[in-house]
Amino acid sequence: MLSKYKRFCHQIVWFFQLCGMTLSMCWRGYISHKGWSALIHGIGLIVGYLGDYAVLYSMIMNFPGIAGFTALDICFLYSMGLVCYALGNVHTREFWKIDDLVLRGGLDLYLVRPVSPLVQMFVRDIQVGYVSHLILGLGCMLMVKGMSGIPWDILHWGLFFFSILAGCVVMSGISLIATPLSFWWGRSQSVTGFIRGGLRGTLQYPVTIYPKFIRILVYIIPYAFVAYYPCLYLLGKDTSPKAVLYPLISMLVGIAIHFAFWVFWRLGLKRYNSAGG
């Protein structure tokens, strides 16, 4: 029992070492390929997203609010969505190419190595370009926090960081959940693109403003648990004790969606036939 536990711990440490190594490799690759363009690209991203903030803020500031949320609250929700999207997709990019990997037989490369293909794909293409999203998103959240005047105690700060963590886990699960469809359909880009991109717009507004069918959808594909629920307590919209638990529920939802993905992946992998020669 003890040796099993030791082995598990050893694997976890090894996994994070692998992540660190890949991160370092990806960072060096990114910088050496793009050079100064990387920095300019990063600034460009920030400027571009500031346009979205300007649209959102200008739109809502002319009204008393939207479903009880002010323009600043909406900016906070949007920022939370941005940060979770960036952190939650740092490791999922290789899965976005799953169509080609399945159709062209590129997945063989992962299957013949003595390490789980899932682990390899998680660390294969770590995205370092999301730094801009993080800087902007976190900066805006802290700015909104300062402007809103809600005093944050240690519980708020703890929930803030835990909410980001939980939101990232949910977002990562959302990005991954439909990718094994490629094992059955060959191409799943349309469905994964819709889940990852089409529904992302639901992150910036309170879920209560949507018609019933969209509200149901954001519980099934749990966008409601990325920003809306975890932020309710932080923004002072729900100060009841149960609101403190929302980030924890988000984390559980995130773990559940990853588990569903893992089962789905295993089923799909059994169907996989190499296309290569």
């Binding site: 793009k34 363009s37 300019i40 690209h41 600034i43 460009g44 991203l45 400027v47 571009g48 500031l50 346009g51 979205d52 300007a54 649209v55 200008s58 739109m59 809502i60 002319n62 009204f63 008393p64 609010g65 939207i66 479903a67 191409r187 880009q189 349309s190 469905v191 693109g193 819709f194 991109g197 089409g198 529904l199 717009g201 639901t202 507004y205 403003i209 949507y210 018609p211 969209i214």
Partner: protein, 267 residues
């Protein structure tokens, strides 16, 4: 003869896009969702003021604006040309384009027409359908206003096209044109396609009015909603034409300078 060749290229581009029908279907679902999400937001915002006018504009005007501006955005959009040139530069295909009897820019524009129809047809159907479902949509005040709106749309397309060609020429100097697009997207977001300019603070409105993007989307919408008289419409046309001439000359100058920089390796 050349026009026929360009039309054929546009047709082939449309046919190529339609091959991936699942992506097409996904785009249609995307558009419906985008529409429902944004309409829900406007509904929630106006319900917070009991559907009273905001900045002098009623809820019906806002919904009309939002639905029509999506079609305006699609009609006047010329996106994709810069990206296509960037790809042809990095793959070296630009060399074969230069050898063809048709102009390289003409090829890029023709191909973008095919893609334009690909996106335009469902957008028209969805937003026209939504206009019928939502109801209360305002129509142009007279056939004359509608004609002015259509002319303004055509000029809006030419503004976006010439601007896109300016962006495309940067592919001669930079590895990624996309980087520049992010910088510009701050202002394109404020062109009037996402939110009407009357909702922006005055200082931001002043900046937007000094740029070409609002002339491509917001100006046609102002004409459609009837907020302008004949003199203002003529002045708006004049501004649009000036932008077209300015951007056309700029892209021509950049193109002539940039094409001298092309170096293609390999046989």
């Amino acid at each position: 003869m050349k026009l026929y060749a360009y039309l054929l290229m546009a047709y082939l581009s449309l046919k190529e896009s339609l091959t991936y029908w699942k992506d097409y279907l996904s785009f249609v679902i995307f558009s419906v969702f985008r529409l429902v999400l944004q309409l829900s937001a406007w509904y929630a915002l106006y319900s917070s003021v009991d559907f009273a006018p905001v900045m002098g504009r009623s809820y019906e005007t806002m919904i009309t604006y939002y639905l029509v501006v999506q079609i305006v955005g699609d009609v006047t959009s010329a996106n994709g040309i810069a990206r296509a040139l960037e790809q042809r530069m990095s793959s070296g295909e630009i060399a074969t384009d230069m050898l063809r009897p048709a102009a390289p820019r003409g090829i890029l524009i023709a191909r973008s027409w095919g893609e334009k129809f690909y996106f335009f047809i469902p957008t028209m159907v969805i937003f026209a359908g939504a206009a019928l479902v939502v109801g209360g949509i305002q129509l142009p005040a007279s056939p004359g206003v509608f004609a002015a709106f259509v002319l303004s749309l055509c000029l809006g397309y030419l503004i976006n096209l010439t601007f896109e060609l300016v962006m495309a020429t940067f592919a001669f100097w930079f590895v990624e044109v996309n980087t520049l697009r992010w910088f510009v997207s701050f202002f394109t977001a404020l062109s009037g396609t996402a939110v009407p300019l009357w909702l922006l603070p005055p200082w931001l409105q002043a900046i937007c009015r000094a740029l070409p993007f609002q002339a491509a989307a917001y100006v046609p919408m102002q004409i459609y909603l009837g907020g302008t008289n004949s003199a203002e419409i003529l002045s708006a046309f004049g501004t649009q034409v000036l932008w077209i001439i300015g951007l056309f000359l700029l892209q021509e100058w950049l193109w002539q300078r940039g094409k001298r920089r092309i170096v293609v390796l390999g046989g």
